[in-house]
Amino acid sequence: MENILEVKDLHISFDTYAGQVRAIRGVNFDLKPGETLAIVGESGSGKSVTSRSIMRLLASNANVDNGEILFKGEDLVKKSEKEMQKIRGSEIAMIFQDPMTSLNPTQKIGKQIAEPIIKHQAVSKEEAYKKAEELLRLVGIPNPEKRMKQYPHQFSGGQRQRIVIAIALGCNPDILIADEPTTALDVTIQAQILELMKELQHKIKTSIIFITHDLGVVANVADRVAVMYAGKFVEVGTVDEIFYNPQHPYTWGLLSSMPTLETSGYLYAIPGTPPDLLNPPKGDAFAPRSEYALKVDTMYEPPLFKVSDTHFAATWLLHPDAPKVTPPAEIVARQSGFRTKQLQIQPSDDLSQMSGQDLEGPQDKNNLSVDELTTDRDGKGEANEPRY
């Protein structure tokens, strides 16, 4: 099926007093109709910036330095603000993190739901309000005709998020961007909202980009998962591939730090902090925090290696000459359950190009000496041991 969205080699930076912060450093992905792509990563990894760049709702000090965002074949980066206004809310809609603050406190919710419908569709006010009422019913708010005339403070947090979803669905968008839609809700409500989103996606056939840092949520909703770190996608794959056959040490770290029913004693935490994107590190950005870092990681940025047709990971560990490392026991247990296919490990041509430009020096990536691929644990000492 044709992709509804293709993001190609996206680079975004922010001008700050301290200098240029390179928030997004070469992101590539595509989205198929009806598909749910989850983007996971810790705070500051660039998840929200990526999603906002698609809506072109970035802060005024943000620059798209390079790259294309092709929506139905047209580059959104080149669109004028006027053209973007026609797309926002009608073809691409967004759900925000905090339902307590994302509704206008002084406007009746009926008006707020009808607003994008009136704006984008050639319908009368009455028709728009009728549609708004249907939407309220659709997202599971009882007594919609009465509730239309109420204000946001008369609704609970979960109900408000349902209303925000109703607003987003007003014009049957092709893409729904959900920026941590359940983070601010308590767990039982989270489950309800996720259930609702899945159900609605079925009905409306929209693609969803789901931004979250909660892997539990990802497992629940996503078809494919992209793991983001320091402004790049470090691993992309189907939900099964990411959860049961992860390849990148960062993904290992994320999965290990997620409590499971078997967890006892200490819960693992990834040591260190994310790199300062004012001066992005040379080589693999995750290397300083990784116990599996190779010497080459500090010198050259790893390309995305192909694990399967749908699974890619940017780590030198996948290089044929790399030493075999044993992932944490927790990950090994996960992998043993995965029906291991014959892994064909080679850098995929199209995907390695984009990270290749960040690679300094004339070095041929496929001909690294074994020396460079040895682990460098001794040289780094205790800083790389997990801290609890």
């Binding site: 809506m55 709702l57 603000e81 206004q85 026609k86 797309i87 926002r88 809310g89 009608s90 809609a93 967004m94 925000f96 993190q97 905090d98 603050t101 994302s102 509704l103 206008n104 406190p105 002084t106 406007q107 607003e115 994008p116 704006k119 984008h120 204000y151 403070h153 008369q154 925000v164 607003i167 987003a168």
Partner: protein, 313 residues
């Protein structure tokens, strides 16, 4: 809605209590003022003073005078002025309230509306020269006292250009300069305040959502920004009204407006007790009414507060 009327009733009751306290405190404070109402006391014999005091009830013990005064107040009798040939205070004030009210209202309305517009524009054009100019104007307006403005306006528009009368009270044209002079400070205050609030609101989540709906920058500002930014500004209206009332005394003098401010200054200088009390009570009444009005306005603008008071029972 029933509980809302109940709430309003309670508020009016509190208003009356406040007025009673103000009347009492002012009465006793006034009695502590040095001097007597008689400007040429040296030439008056003891007997004459006694007769005069008797006539105006000043020989009674203070507590009795207080009782008589309160009784008068309740029946709407503010007494008679010492200074103006026994004119009843009520009559004196009513002849002078119109000019004061006119320039006061003109100043508040024009000042706050212009201030809001200025504040919204500078918030929307944040960081540009428009913003800088507006902020500078607001700071100037806030820091230069209104009597300086008054004199400058007289010089420029009255003396040099000759467009408006300098110091005269006759019709609308003569109310323009004093209104402008008085409007400067509410304008500056509301512009500064509105800018801050608007900048806050424009970075809020619901404005982000409104943008994500596909609204343009100005649509967002008008449909979702201004009303929310106005809520805190309403709080400012009370103190602003007070500032105008006190500020108007000087400005009224400069423009020779036969208003209440001017009357107040005169009556204090001459220990005209009934007039001092009358003006104080009038100002207090205006003030508590403004405060009540602000609370009612709050409810109209912010639905959350409306419900809080409705659900107060």
């Amino acid at each position: 809605m029933k509980s809302y009327t109940k709430y309003l009733g309670k508020r009016v009751l509190y208003m009356i209590l406040t007025l009673f306290l103000i009347a009492s405190i002012t009465f006793f404070l006034m009695k502590l003022l040095p001097g007597t109402p008689y400007s040429n006391q040296d030439k008056l014999s003891e007997e004459q003073i006694f007769i005069m005091n008797e006539k105006y009830g000043l020989n009674e013990p203070i507590i009795v005078q207080y009782g008589i005064y309160l009784l008068g107040l309740v029946t709407g009798d503010l007494g008679t002025s010492f200074q103006f040939n026994n004119t009843p205070v009520a009559e004196l004030l009513s002849s002078r309230i119109a000019p004061s009210a006119q320039i006061g209202i003109q100043a508040v309305v024009v000042g706050t509306i212009l201030g809001i517009v200025l504040g919204v524009i500078s918030a929307m054009k944040q960081g540009t020269w428009v913003d800088t100019t507006a902020t500078l104007t607001a700071i100037l307006g806030r820091s230069i006292p209104n009597f300086v403005f008054a004199v400058l306006l007289q010089l420029i528009f009255g003396v040099w250009l000759g467009w408006f009368p300098i110091a005269l009270w006759s019709g609308f044209a003569s109310s323009i300069l004093p209104s402008i002079a008085l409007a400067i400070s509410p304008l500056a205050d509301s512009a500064r305040f509105m800018r801050t609030e608007m900048v806050d609101v424009l970075s809020s989540d619901y404005v982000e959502l409104a943008k994500a709906k596909g609204l343009s920058k100005w649509e967002v500002a008008f449909k979702h920004g201004i009303r929310n930014a106005l809520i805190p500004l309403v709080t400012l209206l009370g103190p602003m009204a007070v500032a105008l009332m006190t500020g108007s005394m000087v400005v009224e003098n400069i423009f020779a407006i036969p208003g209440i401010g001017e009357q107040f200054v005169k009556s204090i200088l001459t220990n005209d007790y009934p007039t001092i009390m009358g003006v104080t009570m009038l100002y207090s009444l205006l003030l508590v009414s403004v405060i009540l009005l602000v609370d009612v306005l709050y409810g109209i603008i912010d639905p959350r507060i409306r419900v809080a008071t409705e659900g107060g029972e």
